[in-house]
């Protein structure tokens, strides 16, 4: 009898082996009460007589998959499977071999996917211990590593290797026209070089590193020839760089598409906040007392933040108009102050870059410091200004989520503006403040005295920025985070506990990645090997950040939403891309290439290699390309794209309406069910009363 309740859960599928005689009524009653408290009435009814259908092309047969996902107890599933296996049709040996092969291929595919995806296990471990927000940072980092590596392969294949192959031979594509003075360029160091100078040169890209494959100046403007195959090196260089930008754009947008799909499917993260937190907030994989406590604090914090937002919204709605005016004017003031801060940072960087350029001839350590002055000022600005902006945000009194977004946007703007300031300063000096017909630029339309090869110079600046960024990250890790953790762990004082262990703040780390990538994009035209350097830098950064995460950091109390954050990171990356593209387009079209170096010497601007090479193509190709560029082709193409876009917009709106309709229908079904249940209760009550009377009468 004790085992009866257990058997009841499985219902009518087990034999009742008890031989105890029960009164007929009670046995019937027991059989009627099929479900025990533990089993849910939501178990789907299993159709015993269904034969297994043909296998689909995945190699999984449908009933097996259904069985796995059916919420039945394990013992029941086993029984069902036993019955199913008896139904398995007899197949010929060829068929069964084919089926076995598809299954093993499927398994192989799964294994390969797990193996080839870089750092899968590390990412799982990070996500398990620190949550989705931190994991999204590392996923973003992995995406950038892969992007940079593929870009490097592209550049190596089309620019580096042909240059190495066709180094010595090849006919020059343009004749030297222009004053002799412009063509003076001698980057090789003269005389005996002190040993430590090699180290300084490595850090600043000068000296032995300047005239090498690393920078633009080393590449020739020749047409590499080999039997009946000619390779136009300057054209290849240009097209590779342009294609690299387009390729990066496509990758970013493709990734944004997948991230956006998740965000749209969940209907926006602001809806159904509380229910999400309550039911999906707890991470069942949390191990250990500390992680659990942290998770609980985390959930507590999130709920409090949401409640706080509600409260602030209510307060904001309850403000009198006088208070509203005060608040808004305060916000405008703070906005102006933050713009002022960013402008001040811009000006400081401008001054620093000017100073650095003036003192560029210094030797030794002092010279190195002057070389790195712009980078130092940029890093200092990137550290100080967000701190000040955080204080400003306290006065503005936005809702917490808006505050976070505002802070991030300000930090992004600051970073990109810093880079822009550096580029602006360089531009001023290269083109003599835009007046290319006066002063030092009169002779060659660029400042040939200070910059005999200005592209290499710009490339060196970008190289220095990348390197400095990397060194700062490693230095902060070694000199700040490890000591901080050692102090906090081993020194039991109130101050140490208040400071606490480092928190891994996701947004600022992501911004630093975006900044690094923007620098690489800006410098790609002038320093073709920069993507390779960046790949190595990001790989080392991954391991460094992982180490610091596990040893030095405690999980952040304030979590960053992981689903919308992936999309946000990519949007910010896109801003960086736009800045880099603007710089590239300007350099291609407006500034005269150096006459002493590089693959585009003696041309009036970099882009003019395209028309020049165009006329060396065959006539049919020329006519074809003219046709594509003409109005007879582009206007119909444009009209067609508009039509296709309208179609997709219409499709999207129809799907949206469908979703809303289905949601409403779901609500209605619920109400119907409620109504029917009430009806059943009514009816059964009505039926029971006369029946009961009948039984009473019988007795």
């Amino acid at each position: 009898m004790a085992s009866d309740p257990q058997k009841q859960g499985s219902g009518k599928l087990y034999d009742y082996t008890e031989g105890n005689g029960y009164p007929g009524d009670q046995q019937a009653l027991r059989l009627r009460r099929i479900s025990s408290p533990a089993s849910s009435q939501n178990y789907p009814q299993f159709n015993w007589s269904s034969a297994p259908s043909e296998e689909d092309e995945n190699g999984n047969s449908e009933p097996h998959r259904d069985l796995r996902s059916a919420p039945l107890p394990m013992a029941l599933k086993r029984a069902i499977r036993q019955v199913q296996q008896m139904h398995v049709p007899v197949v010929s040996s060829v068929e069964s071999w084919k089926r076995k092969k598809t299954k093993s291929l499927h398994k192989l595919k799964d294994n390969a996917r797990g193996f080839l995806t870089l750092w899968n296990k590390s990412l799982q471990k990070i996500g398990g211990n620190f949550g989705g927000g931190v994991q999204s940072y590392f996923l973003f980092l992995r995406f950038l590593v892969v992007l940079n590596f593929v870009s490097f392969l592209l550049i190596a294949g089309f620019v580096l290797i042909p240059n190495i192959v066709f180094r010595s031979d090849g006919t020059s594509l343009a004749n030297s026209t222009g004053p002799e003075k412009c063509m003076e360029y001698d980057p090789n160091p003269q005389g005996l070089v002190v040993f430590y100078k090699y180290f300084l040169d490595l850090l600043s890209g000068t000296g032995f590193m300047e005239y090498s494959y690393l920078f633009y100046g080393y590449y020739n403007n020749t047409l590499g020839e080999d039997r009946n195959f000619s390779y136009n090196i300057p054209l290849a260089y240009l097209f590779t760089v342009v294609f690299y930008f387009i390729f990066c754009l496509i990758c970013i947008i493709a990734r944004m598409g997948t991230a956006a799909r998740v965000a749209v499917a969940t209907g926006g993260s602001t809806v159904a906040n509380y229910s999400m937190i309550v039911f999906t907030g707890w991470d069942y994989g949390c191990l250990g007392g500390k992680a659990t406590k942290l998770k609980q604090n985390n959930i507590h914090y999130r709920l409090q933040v949401d409640l706080e937002e509600e409260r602030i919204k209510k307060q904001a709605a309850a403000l009198t108009s006088c208070q509203k005016v005060v608040l808004y004017s305060l916000r405008v003031l703070m906005f102006l102050i933050s713009c002022g801060l960013i402008g001040a940072a811009f000006y400081c960087i401008f001054l620093a870059t000017n100073f650095s350029q003036q003192r560029s001839g210094e030797q030794g350590i002092l010279g190195l410091i002057f070389e790195y002055l712009p980078s130092i000022v940029i890093t200092a600005g990137n550290f100080l200004v967000p701190l000040l902006c955080d204080q400003i945000a306290l006065i503005e009194r936005y809702a917490p989520s808006t505050t976070v977004i505002m802070a991030l946007l300000r930090a992004v703007f600051l970073r990109l503006v810093s880079l822009g300031a550096l580029l602006f300063t360089l531009w001023r000096q290269i083109t003599c403040e835009g007046h290319t017909d006066s002063g030092a630029c009169e002779l060659c339309q660029y400042n040939h005295e200070v910059y005999p090869c200005w592209e290499t110079r710009v490339g060196q600046e970008m190289y220095k920025l990348t390197l400095f960024d990397f060194l700062i990250n490693v230095a902060v890790l070694v000199l700040v985070e490890f000591p901080r953790r050692m102090v906090v762990d081993n020194w039991p004082s109130k101050l140490a506990q208040w400071v606490g262990r480092q928190e891994f703040v996701v947004p600022y780390n992501v911004l630093s990645l975006v900044y690094g990538q923007t620098v690489v994009w800006t410098g790609a035209l002038f320093c073709p090997l920069l993507p390779l350097i960046n790949t190595i830098k990001f790989v080392i950064l991954f391991y460094c950040k992982k180490i610091t995460l596990f040893y030095n950091c405690r999980p952040a109390l304030k979590t960053f939403r992981s689903t919308t954050s992936a999309f946000f990171f990519l949007v910010v990356l896109l801003f960086g891309w736009i800045l880099a593209t603007a710089v590239m387009i300007y350099s291609l079209a407006e500034i005269r290439p150096s006459m002493g170096c590089g693959p585009f010497r003696f041309l009036s601007n970099i882009w003019s290699i395209v028309p020049t090479s165009f006329y060396s193509l065959s006539t049919t190709t020329q006519e074809f390309l003219f046709f594509i560029g003409s109005q007879a082709f582009t206007i119909p193409l444009f009209v067609l794209s508009c039509v296709v876009m309208c179609y997709f917009i219409a499709l999207a709106s129809v799907y949206g309406k469908n979703v809303a309709l289905l949601r409403a229908q779901l609500k209605l079904e619920g109400r119907d069910k409620q109504f029917l249940v009430k009806q059943i209760a009514e009816l059964s009550r009505q039926l029971q009363i006369p029946k009961h009377n009948g039984v009473q009468d019988c007795r």
Binding site: P73, A291, H300, G670
Partner: protein, 178 residues
């Protein structure tokens, strides 16, 4: 598992993982659990032993999890139910299955509805009772308001499943690694 009487093939459950689980089940109570399952012994471990596993020890819902997977509702798990529990909580279980069992776990009074008392208990376990009663009240109200579709002031399984389908993190949080 000692011999091949089991009807699971490699595609259903990785035999290695079943052996692993059996090892864990055995070490909870070495004198109770037989090593040989040939004769399909009827051996159940009580709740108190199972919630002492390191994966479950700190989980505030440990009692409910074990009760949801036990047939008698009191938390005594046979080996089949033990495997069931960890397979639903693994990363390969489909979303619908996880949603069904998540609903059962949060349904404290086992009436197939998540009523306000269930939510209050869930919330208290989540935040270790650090929220004030007014805050608890407010959050429960808002949760029901957001997820209740049929307007009966409690969440049925359909409401729950609909809400879960819009939660992208559900699959990754409702997951225990063993």
């Amino acid at each position: 598992m000692g011999n091949k009487q089991t009807i699971f093939t490699d595609e259903q459950l990785d035999a290695y993982q079943v052996r692993l689980l059996h090892g864990r089940y055995h070490e909870l109570a070495p004198h109770l659990v037989p090593m040989d399952y040939t004769n399909d012994p009827d051996c159940k471990l009580p709740l108190a032993l199972i919630v002492n596993m390191p994966e479950l020890k700190e989980n505030p819902f440990r009692n409910r999890i074990v009760e949801a997977f036990s047939e008698d509702g009191a938390g005594n798990l046979s080996f089949n139910e033990f495997v069931d529990m960890f397979s639903v909580l693994s990363e390969m279980a489909p979303r619908e299955l996880k949603a069904i069992y998540a609903f059962k776990i949060y349904d404290f009074n086992v009436d197939n509805y998540l009523c306000k008392e269930d939510l209050e208990k869930t919330l208290n376990k989540l935040t270790k009772e650090e929220l004030t009663p007014e805050e608890v009240e407010l959050v429960c109200e808002k949760t029901i308001e957001e997820a209740d579709l049929d307007g009966d002031n409690k969440l049925s399984f359909t409401d729950f499943e609909n809400m879960i389908s819009r939660a992208p993190d559900f699959l990754s949080t409702f997951h225990i690694r063993i």
